[in-house]
C-alpha cells in the first residue's frame, strides 16, 4: 500500500494550485455577486492546457485518469474559487466521458479538440421538472423525422446553458409506458443548443452564482442523426457509465471547499481577539475545527481510494458513493463551522465563508442527494431490499 501521489500527480496538484492562486477570493466574490461567468479564469485554465487533462491524446488531451482530474478540481475549489471555479470547467474535464466512450469518430474529432482548447462550452441536460433523481421518468421526447430527430420538452437546472454552444441532452425516444424496462428508450445526443428552438432562462438561486443554472424550454429542436451518442435507446446506460466518476469529482470539489473554509476559519480564529485572547483559544471553537480537519482527512482517503480503483479499472461504485457522501458532509460541516467561527462577520460577504457555505450546501443535494447515496449503499452494497 502506498499513499504517495506520483510525481506527475504532485506536479499537477502544485501547478494547478499556483494557477488558481492567481484568482483570489476578491475575484470570486465579484463574479458571484455580478452573476458573471469567470472567463478570465476559464481562459487561464484552458491556455495552460488543463481542460484536456483526461481527454485521450489523439484528441489533443493528456489522457490522465480520474485521480488527476479529482486533484485538479479539488485544488481549484480549495483555492477559494469553490464551486464557481469548479463548475466553470467541470464538464470540460470529464463530462464528455459518454462521448469519448460511445460517440462516433466524427463527433469526437469535431468536438473534443475544441473542448480541450476551451473554445467550445458544453452543458449537461438531464434533470427535468418532473424527473429529478428518478431520471428514467424524464419526458423530453425526441421523435424521428427522416434522418433527424425533433425534440420537445423541458429541462431544469441546466448549468452553464447560457454560455454553452452545445448540450449533452438526455431524451426519450420511446415513452416510459411503452418501454420494456424503465431504463430503456432513453437516447443521448450531443448537439447544438440552438437558441431558435430552445428558450434558456436562468434560475435565481442560493449560491454558485457565477455559473448560471437554467430552465430550458425545448420547442421543435431539430437534431441530425449524427449528433446521437451511440445507439438509440441506450442513453441511460451511457450516462450510468459516467456516474461514478461524476461522484468522485463532486467529492473532490466538496473536499476542496471544506479545505478553503477551514483555512479561513483557522486564520480568523488565530487573529480575532475577544475577552483579551484569540478566539481560537476556546475549545468551543478549536474542537469543531479540529474535528472538521479529521473528517476532511478521512473523506479524502476514501476519495483517493475510489479514484485509484477507477483508474485501475476495478469496481468502485461503493467507494465512489461513499466518497461523495463523506466529502459532501465534511465539506459542508467545515463551511458551517467556518461561518460560526467568524461570528457576525461570517454573515458578511467580505469574509468569503458565507459564499463557501452556500456552495457547500449544494453538494448535499446535487448531482445526487445524500439520501440517494444511502439508498445505493443500502441496496447494492448491504443487499437490503430496495426501499423506494
Amino acid at each position: 500500500m502506498d499513499f504517495e501521489l506520483s510525481e506527475d500527480q504532485s506536479t499537477i496538484r502544485k501547478s494547478v494550485a499556483e494557477l488558481a492562486a492567481r484568482f483570489d477570493d476578491q475575484y470570486w466574490m465579484e463574479k458571484d455577486e455580478r452573476h458573471e461567468f469567470p472567463s478570465e479564469f476559464y481562459e487561464a485554465v484552458a491556455s495552460a492546457g488543463w481542460l484536456g487533462l483526461t481527454t485521450p491524446e489523439e484528441y489533443g488531451g493528456h489522457g490522465y485518469g480520474i485521480t488527476e482530474a479529482s486533484l485538479l478540481l479539488e485544488e481549484v475549489s480549495a483555492s477559494g474559487g469553490g464551486m464557481n471555479a469548479a463548475s466553470a470547467i467541470h464538464l470540460s474535464i470529464f463530462g464528455m466521458h459518454p462521448v469519448i466512450v460511445h460517440g462516433s469518430d466524427q463527433m469526437k474529432k469535431e468536438n473534443l479538440p475544441r473542448i480541450v482548447a476551451g473554445d467550445l462550452h458544453v452543458c449537461f441536460g438531464v434533470t427535468e421538472p418532473g424527473a429529478g433523481l428518478d431520471t428514467t421518468r424524464i419526458t423530453t421526447f425526441a421523435k424521428r423525422d427522416g434522418s433527424d430527430y425533433v425534440v420537445n420538452g423541458r429541462k431544469v437546472w441546466i448549468s452553464k446553458a447560457q454560455e454553452s454552444e452545445k448540450i449533452l441532452l438526455l431524451t426519450r425516444t420511446a415513452k416510459f409506458e411503452d418501454s420494456p424496462k424503465k431504463t430503456a428508450g432513453l437516447t443521448l445526443f450531443f448537439t447544438d443548443l440552438n437558441r431558435d428552438a430552445v428558450d434558456i432562462r436562468p434560475i435565481r438561486k442560493m449560491g454558485r452564482n457565477a455559473i448560471s443554472s437554467n430552465e430550458l424550454f425545448i420547442d421543435d429542436l431539430r437534431i441530425p442523426e449524427e449528433d446521437r451518442v451511440g445507439e438509440e435507446g441506450q442513453g441511460f446506460k451511457y450516462i450510468l457509465d459516467g456516474l461514478n466518476p461524476e461522484r468522485m469529482l463532486i467529492a473532490a470539489e466538496a473536499l476542496g471547499l471544506g479545505r478553503a473554509a477551514l483555512r479561513r476559519a483557522v486564520r480568523y480564529g488565530n487573529e480575532r481577539e475577544v475577552f483579551g485572547r484569540p478566539i481560537g483559544m476556546n475549545q468551543g471553537l478549536q474542537f469543531p475545527l479540529a474535528d472538521s480537519l479529521a473528517h476532511l482527512d478521512a473523506a479524502e482517503l476514501s476519495l483517493r481510494k475510489a479514484t485509484w480503483l477507477y483508474d485501475q479499472g476495478l469496481p468502485c461504485a461503493r467507494e465512489a458513493n461513499t466518497a461523495k457522501y463523506l466529502c459532501a458532509d465534511a465539506g459542508f460541516t467545515a463551511a458551517d463551522r467556518a461561518l460560526q467561527t467568524h461570528g457576525g462577520m461570517g454573515y458578511a460577504e467580505e469574509y468569503h465563508v458565507a459564499r463557501y457555505f452556500r456552495e457547500a450546501r449544494l453538494l448535499r443535494i446535487a448531482p445526487i442527494s445524500q439520501e440517494m447515496v444511502l439508498n445505493f449503499l443500502g441496496e447494492h452494497v448491504l443487499g437490503m431490499p430496495r426501499s423506494y
Partner: protein, 356 residues
C-alpha cells in the same frame, strides 16, 4: 398562562425526595439490588403513603393526577429506586376501576401488572386468545414486574373477536414464571406462561384502558428518565469540579463545560414537555396522546444521550460499579426502550400526522 408547580406539588416533591434520600441511599439501594430484593422498597414505599398519590380517591388512591404521578416518577428515577412493581400497578389501575376491592391491596403491594412485553407500547400488545371455558394460554415474554405481581391484567380476544381485559391470579398453578436479568438491576421483567389459566372478566372498555395505559406509560417512563438525567448531571458537574488534570479541575475545560450545559438544555426541555404533557393527558385534550408520544420519544432518547455525555465527563471512573453513575446510566438506557422505543413512538406520531 402560568407554568409552575403548585406549592403543594413542590412540597410533595421535596418530601418525597427527602424520604427517598433517607430510605434508599446508594448503599441501601445497592444492598437491595445485590440481593435481588424488590419487595422491601415497594412495601415501605406503600407504608409511607406514597404509592397512592396521583390515583383518584375513588380508586383507593390519595387523589391528585398525572402531574403528581410524574413527580413521583421523576424522584424515583433520580434515586434509581426499584419501582417497577409500583409502576406496573399504576399502569394497571384504570383496568381495575370496577374492582375497588382489589385496588387498595394492589397499591399496598404486591401489585398488579399488565401482561404484555415491557418494551411494547401497551396499546400495540398482542392479546391472548380466550378459550370458551374462560381460560387463557400463551407465553408473554418480559413482563414488567411480572415476578412480583399478585395478579395480571391480560388483554385477550374472545372467539367473537372482541378485545377484553381479563384478570388472572399470578399464584395459580397454571401460571409459570421465569425471571430474566436486566442490565438495569433496579427494574425487573419476567417471562410469564399461562397454561389454561382460569381468568375472570374485567368490566371495562379494553381498548380505551390500553390506550390510556399507553399515554400514562409514555409519560411516566419519560418522567423517570428526566429524574435520572438530573441526577447524572449533578454527579457529572460535581465530579468535574473535584477531579483535577493538568493542574486544574477538568470542569474548567470548555469542552467539558459545554457538555454539561448541553445536558442541562436537554433536561430543561424534558421537564417542560413532560409536565405539559402530563397536564394535557389529565385534561384529555384532543392532542394529548400526541403530547405523550412526543414526550416519550424526545425525553427518553435525550436522556440516553445525556447518559453517554455524563459517562464521558466522568472518564474511566464512570465505567466502574464503584461509582453510582452506572445506576442511572442503565436506568435511562432501559427507559429509552421501556413501553416503546423512541422509534415506535415517532412512528405513532407520524401516523397521527397522516404522512404518506
Amino acid at each position: 398562562m402560568q407554568w409552575t408547580l403548585s406549592e403543594e406539588q413542590v412540597a410533595y416533591q421535596e418530601a418525597l425526595r427527602g424520604w427517598l434520600g433517607a430510605t434508599a441511599p446508594s448503599a441501601v439501594l445497592r444492598s437491595w439490588l445485590d440481593a435481588g430484593d424488590v419487595e422491601t422498597f415497594q412495601r415501605s414505599f406503600a407504608a409511607a403513603g406514597w404509592s397512592g398519590v396521583g390515583i383518584p380517591e375513588e380508586l383507593a388512591g390519595q387523589g391528585g393526577g398525572l402531574v403528581e404521578l410524574a413527580l413521583t416518577c421523576e424522584e424515583l428515577g433520580r434515586s434509581a429506586a426499584p419501582s417497577a412493581g409500583w409502576l406496573a400497578t399504576v399502569l394497571a389501575v384504570p383496568a381495575l376501576s370496577g374492582r375497588k376491592d382489589l385496588l387498595a391491596a394492589a397499591l399496598a403491594g404486591p401489585g398488579v401488572a399488565l401482561l404484555l412485553p415491557a418494551e411494547q407500547v401497551p396499546a400495540t400488545a398482542r392479546p391472548l386468545p380466550l378459550s370458551s371455558d374462560g381460560t387463557l394460554s400463551g407465553e408473554i415474554p418480559r413482563v414488567l414486574a411480572g415476578g412480583s405481581a399478585a395478579r395480571f391484567v391480560v388483554p385477550a380476544v374472545a372467539p367473537d373477536g372482541v378485545l377484553q381485559l381479563r384478570l388472572v391470579d399470578a399464584g395459580a398453578q397454571q401460571v409459570h414464571l421465569s425471571a430474566r436479568t436486566l442490565l438495569d438491576r433496579s427494574r425487573s421483567v419476567t417471562d410469564v406462561r399461562l397454561a389454561a389459566a382460569p381468568s375472570e372478566p374485567l368490566d371495562v372498555d379494553a381498548s380505551a384502558v390500553l390506550a390510556e395505559a399507553s399515554d400514562r406509560a409514555a409519560l411516566l417512563v419519560a418522567a423517570d428518565a428526566l429524574g435520572a438525567s438530573e441526577r447524572m448531571l449533578e454527579l457529572a458537574v460535581e465530579y468535574s469540579k473535584q477531579r483535577h488534570q493538568f493542574g486544574v479541575p477538568i470542569g474548567s475545560f470548555q469542552a467539558v463545560k459545554h457538555a454539561a450545559a448541553s445536558m442541562l438544555v436537554g433536561i430543561e426541555a424534558a421537564r417542560s414537555v413532560t409536565y405539559y404533557a402530563a397536564a394535557s393527558v389529565d385534561a384529555q385534550g384532543a392532542d394529548s396522546s400526541m403530547h405523550a408520544a412526543a414526550t416519550k420519544a424526545q425525553v427518553t432518547a435525550d436522556a440516553a444521550r445525556a447518559a453517554d455525555t455524563a459517562l464521558t465527563m466522568h472518564g474511566a471512573i464512570g465505567y466502574t460499579w464503584e461509582h453510582d453513575l452506572h445506576l442511572f446510566y442503565k436506568r435511562v438506557k432501559l427507559d429509552e426502550r421501556l413501553a416503546g422505543s423512541p422509534a415506535a413512538w415517532n412512528e405513532r406520531l407520524a401516523d397521527a400526522l397522516q404522512l404518506v
